[in-house]
Amino acid sequence: MKRKQGRVAALFLLPYMIVFTVFRLGPSIAGLFIGFMKWNIAGIPRFAGLENFKRLFTDQYFMISLWNTFKFFILTLPPLIIFSLLLALLLNQKMRFKSVGRVVSIIPFVLIPAVVGIIWTWMYDNNFGILNYYLKEMGQSKIQWLTSEKVALVSVAVVVIWTYLGYNMVLFLAGLQGIPHDLYEAAEIDGATKVQTFFKITCPLLKPVASMVITLTLVNTVQLFDQIYVMTAGGPGTSTLTMVQYLYTTAFQNYDLGYGSAIEVAILLILVVLIKLQNSILKVDEEA
């Protein structure tokens, strides 16, 4: 019976496994090797040892892109946790239209990111944008949203927050609904205040969700590209240059495939290390 099951299982698995191996697993592994090559698309690849990886450490553009990615993460994470949690708490209450609120807040997430980038670029326009118009109405001076090196990164971060708030809200909402009701009843009988209940029951039990939100924000920040490509193309100067934007320029505009692969490996390593780090930090915290 077991042998027969193995054969049937193989037939069920085969179509997916072929596509998965050829178009995902294979390329992922191959990337590690291309990183060791000097490979310009016009020339013949040759072995270059660690040259590409060494270059990463001395390449100021790569370092800038790494630093910018870090800034995006630091800027977007707190609002993406606090505001989404508040939104989830609000939309978890008994009230009419709460399902409307839930649906509306996810809409930004399902829009094409490139389209979101264009719509916000229009709102951010220095002269004709509606945001600067409202600022002026309120007696403030205009802001160079996307054309000032100091502001551009924050402006793009706002777009990222706007996009993912509703998505994270759904995660928190699922977490809130998973908390057993008797815990709240018991707390009420014991005379706990609402604030106490929130900090002593709700917050600790939402920790797995918060951890998931952190992981997702990490992954999304490291991958950040579409909106940036449309809105600023990494500029002005290098002020919004992210790792993937730099990777795209290196590999598909300058056609340096070997060095591009080294950047890919670096991106993957950073991602894996940060996620592991984050998981272990939160776990240590749990035991303490």
Binding site: F12, F20, F23, L90, Q93, I106, E264, L271
Partner: protein, 276 residues
């Protein structure tokens, strides 16, 4: 007091909805303004004249309908392929015993951590060797190696009762028939979740289609629309009206799919927390 608290809740909810809808509504309004009115000052929410001139302009100036067709074909075929391949494989992971199952499954799930950005150069070289660049298959096949769907479907199939299946087996029913006629009809919720998650991910996909496709006529909507922007194409005579009209038309299909299946979308996010 209680009534006051209740109305505060509503006001806050309405304000939040405004924050989320404001950019979209503003884009819609501006897309039906004549080009001269778009940059008029002060900006107005209700235009003097509503016109579809910008929409006509997009259709005239760009191969917009080809982009739309390409997006529908690649996102649609990609989604169908994912549904077929992933449900078969997930069923095997959930219901059959075989050697190496654990290793295989954890290899697949581990690839959740590896975004396409981390392997797009080898993928590009592979597709160029296989003559897949500049073809629909070049976009569809890499998207079919989807991991989230395996994750969602495997856990769903594991939760289905085994009695029906065993009864069918005793009656001499083949495994494929059990899968097609008994398991799949029971799996509509999970399949809907996978459908909406993967369709939206495929429809919105940008980086890989941009790398894979070079011919203007074969581009998908996001890639085509991105060309409207000055930051992307410095030669473009940039006009906001046309760009916004192009944007509005591009998001209508996603909004329809989303609103029709939003219940499953929410469940999908809540259960997997991972985007396609």
């Amino acid at each position: 007091m209680k009534k006051l608290k209740g109305s505060v809740k509503y006001i806050v909810t309405i304000l939040i909805c405004i924050v989320f809808l404001f950019p979209i509504a503003w884009a819609l309004v501006c897309s039906v303004k004549p080009e001269a009115d778009i940059t008029s000052y002060p900006p107005r929410w209700i235009p003097d004249v509503a016109t579809f001139a910008n929409y006509a302009e997009v259709l005239r100036k760009y191969p917009y309908m080809s982009w739309m067709k390409n997006s529908i074909i690649t996102a649609g075929a990609g989604t169908i392929l994912i549904l077929i391949l992933s449900s078969l494989a997930a069923y095997a992971f959930a219901r059959f015993q075989f050697k190496g199952k654990k290793v295989l499954y954890s290899t697949i799930v581990a690839m959740l951590l590896v975004p396409i950005q981390a392997y797009m150069i080898p993928l590009f070289l592979l597709c160029s060797k296989m003559n897949l660049l500049n073809t629909y298959a070049g976009i569809i096949l890499p998207s079919a190696a989807n991991v989230t769907s395996i994750f969602i479907l495997t856990s769903f199939f594991k939760g289905l009762p085994t009695e029906l299946e065993e009864a069918a087996r005793i009656d001499g029913c083949g495994e494929l028939r059990i899968f097609l006629q008994i398991m799949l009809p029971l799996s509509k919720p999970a399949l809907s979740t996978v459908t909406i998650l993967t369709f939206i991910a495929n429809w919105n996909s940008f980086l890989w289609p941009m790398i894979c496709i070079r011919t203007d006529n074969l581009k998908t909507l996001p890639v085509g629309i991105a060309q409207f922007m000055g930051s992307v194409n410095s030669n473009a005579q940039f006009q906001y009206g046309t760009a916004l009209a192009g944007c509005c038309m591009a998001v209508i299909p996603t909004l329809i799919v989303f609103l029709a299946l939003q219940k499953y979308f929410v469940e999908g996010i809540a259960s997997s927390g991972i985007k396609g």
